[in-house]
């Protein structure tokens, strides 16, 4: 006989055990249906009935195709000037994408510094300002899932060009462009902080916005939202993706 005041030794206290949740903790897409009825939660939902997003998001796999020449607008001028100023640019460029009136040059990671220097110094290019450096994690869409995006501005010609490099998550190493654009200093630190891309040659590659002792890289797609339990007045609230209501 169970004594009324003694807590049950059975974990869960008599609540029926659930099958391990599918997609919730692993970040796996919810398009794979749960294996057992118990995994479908209270309403037996297939796919993602979750509109909050905490239960794992469905990710589409889209990779833009390269654009053939001519690119139109000033993009041809930029590309031609780059060809003249940087012999062998064809080897450094993986693909050229023109989309929504914007030019994106996909560059091999090891050549990014040379390309940036040419973009900055060459007469016909003159991209004096590096507006933005940031990262994107194309988990599941690209084998080299971590992309670093450089937004360059030419004040002389009033042009915008985007450079993009891709590295895989096991060896996320990209040469730092701080020698060419000192403004990339903090922005590369931010990209390292959130995506774990290591910028080789950066003078001081440390975390910048997250605490110094933080584990993991929060903006990667396999890092859940929240992700850390919250303690308040002795009670611990699990991170959203671990709560039962989202499983």
């Amino acid at each position: 006989m169970v004594e009324p005041n003694k807590p049950s030794e059975d974990p869960g206290g008599g609540v029926p055990a659930q099958a391990p949740p599918v997609g919730a903790t692993s970040g796996a897409p919810a398009e794979y249906p749960p294996a057992s009825p118990a995994g479908r939660g209270m309403f037996g939902i297939h796919g993602s009935g979750d509109t909050s997003g905490f239960g794992g998001l469905v990710r589409r796999r889209v990779q833009p195709a390269g654009t053939p020449q001519p690119y139109g607008g000033y993009f041809d001028d930029v590309y031609d000037a780059l060809t003249v100023a940087y012999p062998g640019i064809e080897d450094a460029i993986e693909k050229v994408v023109v989309d929504r009136g914007e030019l994106t040059l996909h560059i091999k990671p090891e050549r990014i510094v040379d390309v940036c220097r040419t973009m900055r110094d060459s007469e016909g290019l003159r991209f004096e300002l590096c507006s933005s450096v940031s990262g994107v994690d194309y988990l599941g869409a690209d084998e080299r899932r971590l992309h670093v995006v450089y937004q360059l501005t030419s004040m002389t010609y009033r042009r915008w060009v985007r450079l993009e490099v891709a590295v895989d998550a096991d060896h996320p190493r990209v040469p730092s462009v701080t020698q060419v654009y000192p403004t990339a200093d903090w922005q590369e630190r931010e990209t390292y902080d959130f995506f774990g891309v290591v910028f080789e040659g950066h003078p001081n590659l440390t975390r910048i916005l997250m605490p110094d002792d933080w584990e993991g890289f929060p903006q990667r797609k396999d890092y859940p939202l929240g992700g850390v339990p919250v303690e308040y007045k002795g009670a611990e609230i699990p991170p959203p993706d671990k709560r039962r209501s989202y499983q």
Partner: protein, 442 residues
């Protein structure tokens, strides 16, 4: 008698030790004992310090009062907005981004809306009235942001009354914002596709009153500060950064213009129809705090000019794109209990049309889909280039949104401005960058 280099000769008397320093080589004496010569102290300023503009932390290595090394530490206000955005739909994004740089919410929203519209390919469908209202609100916001800059900088450099005046006039603008959007700050007023609701007539009257009042107030500020010797000494030739330094460090906005380069995205790469407005881009050649003060004062006057033109060309018309899928979330009305769904809309979906109810439900819970791709949009915020890099995977939620925050990028200039100067000038230099930590840390 003993002689040690650097020390005066001494002898014992009944009254104690007596030093005889006459005839010594004073350079040697002072050089050997000067405590400042080899003593550097590290001073931690912030993150809770009234003069560091929010939770900014500076670690300064000082030699006497001279700053030898300055390190900037940020991240105390990091809220993970960019990550949170990825878990909400595209429309809900404007509610997040408006909370980044809390002094210029309209700019955050507009940059986001322009990026989403570019992804959707509906830039041409944005109505003229919506664009005019955006310009109107942005320029009012620019004035209010510059007023806070003037107020806080005034306070930090010893002009307390400036703080009171600046916040007093900003309050007036916030009242206009409240009339237009229902909220004083963080309005989420500019939405992808247009703006949330139309400008009421009372607000137009109030803006006209503001236009009549503000030039006088600006003269008052200048009467208070421009001729004042303390203000001159605290700002002139302080925290100088030339164009080369600005470009290398990526500094844009009033700081770049104070160094003499008239780079203003409203002129150089126009958006929202700025090319049709008449205004000047003020610059100064000095590149110091004084120049930044002059530039910002002149920019407020230019903004007033733009607001006036925008009011004159405000014609009746739709404020949202015609596409109901994108326009829905802005179909709001002000009820007795504040702002919410318009009652007519609720009556229709609940009483008349099952189809409407289904569409409403899907659009509210899921949102509209945005074709895959990536775009970058840069606009001129009060602090410089505010860029949005938005990536869509074709779904109803942003795949990635990155803000190129001018506060974040500009703060990199603090070591360049402060090192070699006096510690008091660190405050002036830092304030002249006008950093907003909510934007910097996001």
């Amino acid at each position: 008698m003993t002689t040690t280099s650097g020390y005066a000769t001494e002898r014992e008397t009944t009254e104690g030790k007596v030093f005889n320093v006459t005839g010594g080589d004073w350079d040697t004496v002072v050089g050997g004992t000067d405590p400042i010569q080899d003593e550097r102290i590290v001073v931690n300023m912030g993150p809770q310090h009234p003069s560091t503009h929010g939770v900014l932390r500076l670690v300064l290595e000082l030699e006497g009062e001279t700053v030898r090394e300055a390190r900037v530490v940020v991240g105390y206000l990091h809220t993970g907005i960019e990550k949170s955005l990825e878990f909400r739909n595209w429309v809900q994004g404007s509610t997040f981004v408006t909370r980044m740089d809390y002094l210029s919410p309209i700019f955050n929203e507009t940059a986001y809306a322009l990026a989403v519209e570019k992804l959707l390919g509906i830039e041409d469908q944005i109505t003229e009235r919506a664009n005019t209202i955006r310009v109107l609100m942005m320029e009012l916001n620019r004035i209010s942001s510059h007023l806070v800059w003037l107020a806080t900088t005034g306070m930090e450099l010893g002009a307390i009354s400036m703080m009171l005046y600046g916040f007093r006039e900003r309050e007036y603008i916030l009242e206009i914002f409240e009339m237009v959007s229902g909220l004083r700050m963080n309005m989420a007023y500019v939405r992808p596709g247009g703006v949330a609701q139309d400008v009421p007539d009372e607000a137009i009257v109030k803006i006209r009153e503001f236009l009549a009042m503000m030039p006088k107030k600006l003269k008052e500020y200048e009467a208070l500060l421009s001729g004042q010797p303390i203000w001159h000494q605290r700002t002139k030739d302080v925290a100088v950064l030339d164009v080369t330094g600005c470009l290398a460090l990526g500094i844009t906005g009033p700081v770049l213009r104070s160094a003499g380069l008239p780079w203003d995205l409203r002129k150089t790469m126009p958006y929202c129809g700025y090319e049709t407005y008449e205004f000047d881009v003020p610059t100064t050649p000095t590149g110091d705090v004084w120049g930044r003060y002059l530039v910002r004062m002149a920019e407020m006057r230019e903004s007033l000019k733009i607001v006036e033109q925008a009011l004159d060309r405000l014609r009746p018309g739709p404020i949202m794109v015609a596409d109901k899928k994108i326009a829905w979330p802005a179909q709001l009305a002000i009820g007795v209990d504040g702002m919410g769904n318009s009652l007519e809309h609720v009556a229709k979906i609940m009483g008349q049309s099952m189809e409407s109810l289904i569409h409403h439900f899907k659009l509210v819970t899921e949102g509209f889909r945005v074709p895959p791709g990536q775009v970058y949009v840069g606009i001129e915020s009060p602090r410089g280039e505010l860029g949005v890099h938005a990536v869509s995977d074709g779904g109803t939620r942003p795949y990635r949104v990155h803000y190129r925050e001018p506060s974040f990028v500009n703060l990199q200039a603090i070591p360049a401005m402060a090192e070699g100067g006096l510690i008091a000038d660190v405050i002036a230099g830092g304030a002249s960058l006008d950093p907003v930590m909510g934007g910097c840390d996001r």
